[in-house]
């Protein structure tokens, strides 16, 4: 085992993959000398050179699209979109092109493209640098969607995303880059489509992604002291969704809280609630509680930002609300 931060874990997956396969390259804004706005690719320019750690102009449509084109030629580009807010700029290329070339061609093409991006609130990036937009992409057939919440997961999942033959939108959370963890010495790929039980419990299942996974774990610890046994489950990949893992947990606990940082309305939690309803209606003793951001853009003032996005306390409250319901 060795210790890696989430940031280092991303870098490690990229570097190991690139050492092994010349067809893998990274492109994005300021990823070369500067190592990316989050420092993820720091040092990689020296090892791999400017062709493979490729600085780009500010052209999110064209760089995603160039990734698509290179991917269709059998390369495995990794495009970094600096903030997930800027996925809006490349939305057309992602939704109409990357996701559909295989289908529209009747299976002639593959688009093994990974789009790495990050975002999230915390210390006030403001309304255009802190959104969480993963839900949009779950609505788009042809895409896979990953949201990694720990160093081990981000390393193993990024590896799998790069080697997946489909376009993968790979979400990282800005506040997690410094998070450290013991990871396996050898990189262990984590299959796309497999959730993870972070903590077993029997009274309620908390489904949580990204930063909220960690808030959920805190909440679970607090709940324990109040005699509530919380199972914490991270889907890790939102598309495809590990429905079996989810349902198994729900059938055990009979109560569900779903927590993410994105706004609640039409967020990924809605899909979880719907799926749980469909697959485990008779097992459900209480409504699925959704924890997410309030329905507002991200405000600047820290006191407002803090209020808007959910924290462990919100998860804990939801947990208590749901266990308080009669079966």
């Amino acid at each position: 085992m060795r210790e890696l931060s989430y940031r280092e874990a991303v870098r490690d997956a990229l570097s190991q993959a690139m050492r092994q396969d010349d067809d893998i390259f990274v492109m994005g804004e300021d990823i070369a000398e500067m190592g990316g706005s989050m420092g993820v690719t720091a040092g990689m320019l020296d090892e791999f050179g400017p062709d493979r750690i490729r600085n780009t102009p500010i052209s999110e449509s064209a760089i995603v699209g160039a990734g698509i084109g290179a991917a269709m030629q059998g390369m495995r580009p990794v495009v970094e979109v600096m903030y997930e807010d800027f996925l809006t700029v490349s939305m057309e290329q992602i939704v109409n092109q990357a996701a559909k070339h295989r289908y529209m061609s009747g299976g002639q093409l593959k688009v093994p493209l990974t789009i790495r991006t990050q975002g999230g609130a915390g210390w006030s990036p403001g309304a255009q640098h802190a959104q969480q937009v993963e839900a949009w992409f779950v609505h788009v057939p042809g895409l896979k969607v990953v949201f990694a919440s720990t160093p081990t997961d981000v390393r193993g999942l990024l590896w799998s995303a790069i080697y997946d033959d489909n376009p993968v939108i790979f979400f990282e959370h800005r506040t997690l880059y410094g998070l450290k963890e013991e990871v396996p010495e050898e990189l262990e790929p984590i299959p796309i489509g497999q959730g993870r039980v972070h903590r077993e419990g029997s009274d309620v299942t908390v489904v949580a992604t990204g930063r909220l996974l960690h808030e959920a774990l805190k909440a679970a610890e607090q709940a324990k002291s109040e005699g509530i046994s919380v199972e914490v489950w991270d889907p890790r990949t939102l598309q495809p969704l590990d429905v079996d893992g989810l349902v198994a947990s729900v059938k055990k606990t009979n109560r569900v809280v779903v927590a993410h940082e994105a706004v609640t309305r039409m967020g990924f939690g809605a899909e979880i609630a719907a799926v749980v309803g469909e697959q485990a209606f008779d097992w459900l003793d209480a409504p699925v509680e959704r924890v997410g951001a309030k329905f507002v853009p991200l405000p600047f003032a820290p006191v407002m930002e803090e209020y808007v996005v959910p924290h462990a306390a919100d998860v804990l409250e939801a947990v208590k609300r749901t266990v308080a319901r009669d079966a």
Binding site: S59, A62, G65, I68, G69, Q73, E92, Q97, N166
Partner: protein, 323 residues
């Protein structure tokens, strides 16, 4: 092969082939129009009648291994690059024998084996991937070229500018073929662009421009050869500005209320690339009719082929979403 000819000009034989190719496209699209009006064809259909010289001139200059992206107006490019009329017609009928196996339709003709990376129904949507394909060729050191077709209307959308910028910045082997027919649907160039010479849009990135008259297939071919060679030789991308004419409506069924009918007729009489080449070569009526009959037969056969084709099963729709 192409290179030798470029020096001494094309043989008459080759030009007669071009004539036949253009005629095939013309008759194919006329047939498409007929079958659409007969209610047999679903989807949105755009024909390139009048623009056959661009398709044939450019596609015939491409080499094996080269790739291209087309637009909503894709039949000509696809035929000219060698996809069999049967495969295209079958696609328009939504059959499994179609070049996209019934998943794509007229606006999404693919033939990856022949380098067709797809017609695109989003204006400007295919350009970034052409830059990316060319980047892949460059990174891998392959002597291949990626070609993008697009219209004058597409020069107004962001992806166009971003793609050209990237291509020039990175000096990738790409050729951007502007088929400037002076219309974007019902919108004349004067209503969508403040400048008349759209090649200035390539100057904005310092990209080398080559111009051709799209109604002169020989010229298009000659210029395309130079453009492809330039790109293939690692000298950077080329913006190929081809002036052409859309001698029909934007889509099949378009009443063209927005267009001066007199001017249109004049264009049809004076700027038809097929007539122009025919006259240049002095092709006799008899020879022309022979060729015409031959391609007509091909086209008729393609309809037969398509109609006899296999409908996908409904559940086939669930395939090919993921690799």
């Amino acid at each position: 092969m192409a290179k030798v000819e470029a020096k001494r000009g094309l043989s008459e034989e080759r030009l007669r082939e071009f004539l036949r190719e253009m005629l095939l496209i013309r008759r194919f699209e006329e047939k498409v129009e007929e079958r659409f009006r007969a209610g047999e064809l679903p989807g949105f259909l755009h024909v390139a009648i009048g623009q056959e010289g661009v398709a044939v001139g450019v596609c015939q200059a491409m080499e094996d291994g080269d790739v291209f992206a087309s637009t909503h107006r894709a039949h000509g490019h696809t035929l000219a690059r060698g996809t069999h009329p049967n495969a295209i017609m079958a696609e328009l009928y939504g059959k499994m024998e179609g070049c996209s196996h019934g998943y794509g339709g007229s606006m999404h003709l693919y033939d990856v084996e022949r380098g067709n990376l797809g017609a695109n129904a989003v204006v400007g949507g295919g350009l970034p991937a052409i830059t990316g394909a060319a980047l892949a060729f460059k990174l891998r050191g392959e002597p291949r070229v990626a070609v993008a077709f697009f219209g004058d209307g597409a020069t107004n959308i962001g992806t166009f500018h971003e793609s050209l910028n990237l291509a020039q910045l990175w000096q990738v082997p790409a050729v951007f073929v502007l088929e400037d027919n002076h219309w974007a649907e019902s919108t004349p160039e004067s209503q969508h662009s403040p400048i008349r010479d759209l090649s200035k849009r390539a100057d904005a990135f310092g990209m080398k421009v080559m111009k051709a008259d799209g109604q002169d297939v020989e010229e298009v071919h000659r210029v395309a050869q130079r453009a492809l060679k330039h790109a293939r030789d690692g000298k950077g991308p080329i913006f190929m500005h081809v002036e052409t004419e859309r001698l029909v409506g934007h889509y099949i069924g378009d009443p063209q209320v927005y267009r001066d009918k007199e001017q249109l007729r004049e264009l049809q009489e004076t700027r038809d690339p097929i007539t122009l080449l025919r006259e240049k070569l002095g092709v006799s009526d008899e020879e022309f009719d022979d060729a015409d009959r031959e391609v007509q037969e091909l086209v008729d056969a393609s309809v037969e082929f398509a109609k006899a084709g296999t409908d996908p099963k409904p559940e086939d729709a669930l395939k090919n979403v993921y690799a």
